[in-house]
Amino acid sequence: MTPAPGSAPPGRQATRSSTASVRPHRNRWGRTARWAGWWWVLPALLMYAVFVLRPLALTFQYSLYHWNGIGVARWAGLDNYLTVFTDRDLLKIITNAFVLIVFFSFVPVALGLLVASLVRRITTGTFGTVVRTILFLPQVIPLVAAGIAWSWLLSSNGLVNQVLRAVGLDGLTRSWLGDFDTALPSVGMIGAWVMLGLCTILLVTGMSKIDPALYEAARIDGAGPVREFFAVTLPSLRQEIGVCLTVTVIAALASFDIVYISTSGGPGIQTTVPGLEIYRLAFSQRQVGLASALAVVLMLLVLACVLPIQRLTREDRG
């Protein structure tokens, strides 16, 4: 980041001091001064410790007990974890989260890549600004609002069925979020809608940074648009794709708002996701131990998915 114009001229003084000692940092400020720096870090760490680290430790602790939140907690050992991994419903709920990843992550990234490779520069001009602004709307409004809007769109009188009727596909109409077969994909589509704009813009921005010479070289080598995409575009966008995947996979695994509003997990447990189940177990079923074990599993799942993505897509950045 460059210093703002008008701030103290750093150049002249900086040269003077850096000739005085190679590492001014270490030599000039005494040991005490460096320890005193902790006062700057302390408030943030304190809030983090009280409202994240302590709850995190408590989640681990609760997960080892049977507890209804009020009475005496009974030691459970790994019972709750055993339940998470053997209970059919809970396994189905975890699977649901992975199905959502397909919709929240792969659909927006694939569509985003398609659009990005079709437009080289939409970042310029009024058209670009308007498009960017509109595509970002789903990121700005609360997910709850997206859930409400789409519940209406997918309801029996909603726009989706209206369109199907208009083109003569009356047989396909249904209450999309209430149907056992279509509920989960429908929730997934809402997520895809939310993520699509962000992914598209990120990928388009990434593409605009690719050196045009690379494309020229590819063309000279006789590459068609498809070869060009796989040889130039895709490798150059590795980092942006990594970012899109990271953001959307976390959103899919930790989804709560959209599901809570659009289906509350139904019909049956067809659209229940771990986040919603933790909420239900802890606050309506009063099974705090089991809820906490599921919370630990969810956390580990997020890490297990995100760390490989980070590693695969960021290694060249050191």
């Binding site: 760490l45 809030m47 709850p55 970002f136 704009g197 933790i278 906490s292 995100v306």
Partner: protein, 274 residues
């Protein structure tokens, strides 16, 4: 030339299709919100006699004035505190390089991908023990803590990139750490601080889980939490629900449209760093 023009056209067509898909839910909501109360609206039909009065009804039904006040109070509680302490910590870790800072930073990174659901249960009991359930503090305090991993990471990344010679110069001129921070580092960090402020504002306004778990009274929640309660109350009255949802959306939309450039920049950078 011909080829690239055709490419350009296809690209535009795709983009416009995306734009239409993005806007449809909003338009469909608007068309439902303008139907006469008590009717069952269908998909996208522009009413012959748009009932703009529905918005007035929804304004009263949603208790909008109270909701706005509550959301603003929560924002005022969360955002300035988070930004100040995260900037200080970023300065300490990234610039002063306190001894053992790496460990503190690693500890913070641990929380970077943490789903809020993972800690919501203990936070509930913690807030109950503090006697803060059903007050705005129950949302404000945990949010500040939960934002710290990202916020400190963000500010540290800025301070690491500031050349140390700059503060060396200030030190030579006799300023202490406090003056160095406020007079030189903070003004230089303004763009990073502005982006962080925008992101935290947005995330707080849209925070749903903490709001519904920790606060029962919808008029003490965030906007998103209040919207959830509104849906619970008016879920069967589709006309009013759509009108109310659009009303509750409006403040964010207005703020977004005014600052759209900054918002988009912050969101893009935010996802890249996060």
């Amino acid at each position: 030339m011909n080829l690239s023009r055709r490419e350009h056209l296809t690209g535009r067509v795709f983009l416009i299709a995306l734009v239409v898909v993005t806007l449809l839910p909003f338009v469909s909501m608007l068309s439902a919100a303008l139907q006469p109360r008590g009717t069952v609206p269908t998909g996208l039909t522009w009413p012959s006699d748009p009932q703009w009065g529905n918005f007035v009804d929804a304004f009263t039904a949603a208790n909008m004035a109270a909701l706005l006040r509550s959301s603003l109070l929560i924002i005022v509680g969360v955002v300035p505190i988070s930004v100040v302490i995260a900037t200080m910590a970023g300065f300490g870790l990234g610039h002063l390089r306190v001894p053992g800072g790496r460990i503190a930073f690693a500890l913070l990174l641990l929380g970077l991908t943490l789903p809020f659901e993972a800690v919501i249960t203990p936070i509930y009991y913690q807030m109950r023990d503090f006697g803060l359930l059903n007050t705005r503090w129950a949302i404000i305090l945990p949010l500040v803590g939960l934002y710290m991993p990202f916020a400190v990471y963000w500010m540290r990344a800025h301070f690491v990139s500031v050349p140390p010679e700059l503060s060396e110069a200030a030190r030579t001129d006799g300023s202490n750490t406090w003056q160095l921070f406020w007079r030189i580092q903070v003004p230089l960090a303004r763009p990073a601080i502005a982006s962080l402020t925008i992101l935290l504002f947005l995330w707080t306004w849209n925070q749903f889980l903490l709001a519904i778990v920790l606060v029962d009274d919808a008029t003490k929640r965030t906007m998103a939490g209040a919207l959830g309660a509104f849906q619970g109350q008016w879920g069967t009255d589709l006309v009013l629900l759509c009108a109310g949802s659009l009303l509750i959306l409006t403040p964010t939309l207005v703020v977004f449209l005014i600052f759209q450039r900054q918002f988009i920049k912050a969101l893009l950078q935010g996802s890249v760093k996060g």
